[in-house]
């Protein structure tokens, strides 16, 4: 991974300057930019595995009845698909990759506050992912509980649940430590003159995210340990046959896992908030509203978890209170959408791949969010809860939202990361396939969900066949788009990238591409009357 020197006297971070060379130099590096890239490679690999598993499910579901494998295999596949996609792809996701790569650059810092802790988090991530994957090959076969590990099934099944749960537990620590690191970084290491309300909005979104990571993740950690304890020691927390309460499990699980949705989506919103001003050459509209809405989402988001449990037999009071709170948390997301669109008004817009993906994000995220409204309302939730409608809804949020924002972010910061451009035409084609494929894959799931197709079904009634078949073909288009994207990014070296290829205003665009090891040789500053998005 060597690069010729830029015009800059300092060597780029891609050049090995330490005691090791090559792979070892990467694996031992505490440079936030290298760690960010390592997360990116790991996440791309896991994402690819998850996609293959997704397509395997779609193949099995092409016709009713058994096609290529049996129900036990299907149950194992949707479980590990969910575990991989949630715990190793979208939860670390944008925060781990671009929080690491871009955050210090954007606030004018030389690194994160605790570089070695940062590398340690990366290794915890690798370890946790390895344990979760090992669950597939050890013990009594792959876990078959779904990524939610609902008790008492997760206590009673003979499959290898403990390994998967322990993997998720370790991954949780990686997330907590990353969050902690970012909070301290943002409090202590902002450039002179950069007050909190002059910080760019991607860092703002990471700030809100980091608090959720630190405060909510321990709860799921404890809950997962309780599952292990219950399985080994037969304690009786959750399993009624041991005297436990299965609904308690659901509460504990969702107290984390609902805020976790915001761990995934907030950084995605942050990325979009950076991309739109850059490609419209316009200051962001509603800076404060966007910053505060991130905090609002992070805080109100704690109090809506039981909307996953409307049918569990909770009291009517609990049901309507959680429904009301759920609707309140919808508003800050809407605010962001309005501000993004208004930022385009009277801008000077250049539709480059990152911007195209940002547009895709806004559209898909709106569909995901709006279909969430009928999941938040009581009467309608009862009908579509735990059906294919939910499968479509959360894929629109986590894949259409987080996934597309992730692709947008890669296309956006790629020139900064590698000092190279990519082929813009190819990148646009990847969008066409990903976007079309995505909608063809998941939109039919809304419809068959409304018709009554339950989720986690290996086999189904004949009236749902057509919807599943459309989904399969959508999946194929999507995979083609993903392969085009990988080829565009990683097949050959593009032309040399300028320091600021898109006309961005945040600090990372004032330094060489790729950045030198220490990021800045003259520390950047914000003047009294300067904001983060000032265009002349």
């Amino acid at each position: 991974m060597t690069e010729e020197k830029t015009h800059h006297p300092e060597p780029s971070y891609l050049v090995d300057t330490g005691k090791y060379k090559g792979l070892m130099a990467w694996l031992t590096s505490t440079d936030h930019k290298r760690i960010g890239l390592m997360y990116m490679y790991a996440i791309m690999v896991f994402f690819s595995v998850g996609v293959i598993l997704g397509v395997l499910m779609r193949m099995e579901l092409y016709w009713p009845g058994q096609q290529i494998y049996g129900p036990q295999a299907y149950n194992g596949i949707f479980t590990i698909h969910g575990i991989i996609m949630i715990f190793t792809v979208v939860i670390p996701g944008l925060a781990a990759v671009f929080g690491n790569f871009s955050l210090p650059l954007m606030i004018g810092a030389k690194d994160v506050a605790f570089p070695r802790l940062n590398l340690f988090s990366f290794y915890l991530y690798v370890l946790g992912a390895a344990i979760a994957l090992a669950s597939q090959f050890m013990g009594n076969g792959p876990p078959d509980t779904g990524w939610t590990f609902y008790a008492p099934y997760s206590i009673q099944t003979q499959t290898n649940v403990v390994a998967a749960v322990f993997g998720a537990f370790v991954l949780g620590f990686s997330s907590i430590l990353t969050g902690l690191n970012f909070i301290v970084t943002m409090h202590r290491m902002r450039a002179p003159g950069m007050t909190f309300f002059k910080m760019p909005l991607f860092p703002w979104s990471l700030y809100a995210t980091a608090w959720i990571q630190v405060l909510a993740t321990p709860i799921v950690g404890i809950t997962l340990l309780m599952i292990i304890a219950e399985r080994w020691l037969r304690i009786g927390f959750f399993d009624p046959s041991l005297g436990g309460d299965p609904i308690l499990y659901q509460h504990l699980f969702w107290i984390y896992s609902h805020p976790a949705v915001y761990i995934m989506i907030l950084p995605a919103m942050g990325v979009i908030t950076e991309i739109i001003p850059t490609f419209a050459l316009r200051r962001i509209f509603g800076y404060k509203a966007i910053a505060i809405s991130s905090l609002a989402i992070a805080s109100v988001g704690y109090f809506v978890w039981a909307h996953h449990m409307y049918t569990s037999g909770m009291s009517t009071t609990a049901r309507w209170v959680f429904s009301l709170l759920t609707f309140l948390v919808a508003v800050p997301s809407a605010i962001k959408v309005f501000n993004w669109v208004t930022t385009m008004y009277k801008g000077s817009i250049s539709v480059k791949p990152p911007f195209l993906f940002a547009l895709g994000f806004i559209f898909l995220f709106m569909i995901g969010g709006m279909t969430g409204l009928s999941l938040g309302a009581l009467a309608t939730n009862i009908h579509v809860h735990d059906t294919a409608y939910v499968v479509a809804h959360f894929h629109y949020i986590v894949f259409g939202g987080v996934g597309f924002a992730f692709f947008a972010a890669i296309y956006y910061w790629y020139p900064k990361m590698y000092g190279r451009m990519y082929n813009i035409k190819m990148a646009n084609w990847s969008f066409v396939f990903l976007f079309t494929g995505f909608n063809l894959l998941y939109f039919p799931q809304f419809i068959i969900g409304m018709m009554g197709m339950p989720r986690r079904y290996f086999d189904y009634l004949p009236q749902f066949t057509f919807g599943h078949q459309l989904s399969f073909w959508g999946g194929i288009l999507l995979v083609i788009g993903f392969v085009i994207m990988l080829i565009t990014l990683f097949s050959k070296k593009g032309a040399k990238a300028p320091d600021n290829p898109w006309g961005g205003r945040t600090f990372e665009w004032n330094i060489p591409s790729p950045p030198p090891v220490e990021n800045f040789d003259i520390m950047p500053e914000l003047g009294v009357n300067e904001g983060p998005y000032d265009y002349k």
């Binding site: 149950n75 003979q158 037999g313 250049s350 409204l373 309302a377 009467a379 059906t387 986690r456 290996f458």
Partner: protein, 301 residues
């Protein structure tokens, strides 16, 4: 008229929520695409730096807030009757068990399909024998989880005669997707006649009752068909190839083998089945009960 008394309210809530959403989705997307076109760098080389506008921010906080509160309201209004069961509702106990639904009527009579009279309130008392299931009747727009150790319930009035799907929506293991049956809505007279003709529960031999109660019949059929595992029909006395401690051997199915298979299922595994597919029933089915089961198995040659 809807298939149940809840259809109208639920569908109205859907229409309101989808209607408002569609309006905003189309509106915002159109405006966004128009901006991208109109202010494209080719047509609009110089961006205008526009200041924040508190009035706009205020508007797009309050308008969505009002709209979502409206959605909440319609969702609540259509939902709250689902929790208020009329006093005269016919009680039926639903037993969810891996992976069959059983409906128990007054007097303990059991049926694998849910038969209900037209235009009469019916209350379903939900009972699970093992893990969580969820009873879902899409045509009626109702669903409630069947949680072991918890007394959940649901109710409805069927308003259209016909046959409707009944499904399980909480993942409950291997054959979750096969945990489905029908509900049949019939006239009151038909219902009375059907209920009368429904055989008393005790008509089944003890052994079979035990097999059903523990959901053995979810995987092992009694009619020779293959569900998950071997069928019970003709099993007793048959020669089976099994794997014991990694070595294959032939055995004859006798009392002892059946006992081992139930209490220590992975010890002698029938060739072709993975470990862990069946859990042990030690502490769940007593030896006494097992003897009755064996007596019954001897009868279905």
């Amino acid at each position: 008229m809807g298939a149940s008394n809840f259809v109208e309210g639920v569908d109205l809530a859907f229409k309101i929520i989808f209607g408002i959403s569609l309006f905003f989705l189309v509106g915002i997307t159109t405006v966004m695409l128009y901006f991208v076109y109109r202010y494209n760098r080719k047509r609009h080389p110089q961006a205008v730096q526009i200041k924040d506008n508190n009035f706009l921010e205020f508007t797009w906080i309050t308008v969505p807030l009002i709209l979502v509160l409206l959605m909440f309201y319609y969702g609540y209004v259509a939902f709250s009757p689902m929790r208020n069961v009329p006093k005269d509702a016919i009680p039926i106990t639903v037993i969810g068990k891996m992976w069959v639904w059983t409906f128990e009527y007054e007097g303990g009579k059991q049926s694998p399909v849910l038969v209900v009279p037209l235009n009469k309130a019916v209350k379903l008392n939900l009972h699970s024998d093992d893990v969580i299931h969820s009873l879902y009747i899409p045509a009626f727009r109702i669903k409630e989880d069947v949680v072991p150790g918890k007394k959940n319930y649901m109710w409805f009035i069927a308003q259209q005669p016909g046959e409707y799907d009944v499904l399980c929506t909480v993942y409950c293991g291997l054959r979750h997707s096969y945990m489905e049956t029908k509900t049949r809505v019939v006239s009151e007279e038909e219902y009375a006649a059907w209920l009368k003709a429904l055989p008393e529960k005790s008509a089944e031999p003890d052994g079979l009752v035990i097999l059903k109660k523990n959901a053995c019949t979810g995987c092992h059929s009694i009619d020779g068909s293959k569900i998950v595992s071997t069928s019970f029909k003709g099993l007793y006395g048959k020669t089976e190839k099994v794997v014991t401690n990694g070595t294959e051997r032939s055995i004859t199915v006798d009392d002892e083998y059946i006992m081992t298979s139930v209490y220590d299922p992975d010890k002698d595994l029938v060739v072709g089945y993975p470990k862990g597919l069946m859990k042990t029933y030690r502490g769940i089915v007593t030896e006494d009960e097992m003897n009755k089961v064996i007596d019954y198995l001897k009868t279905i040659k």
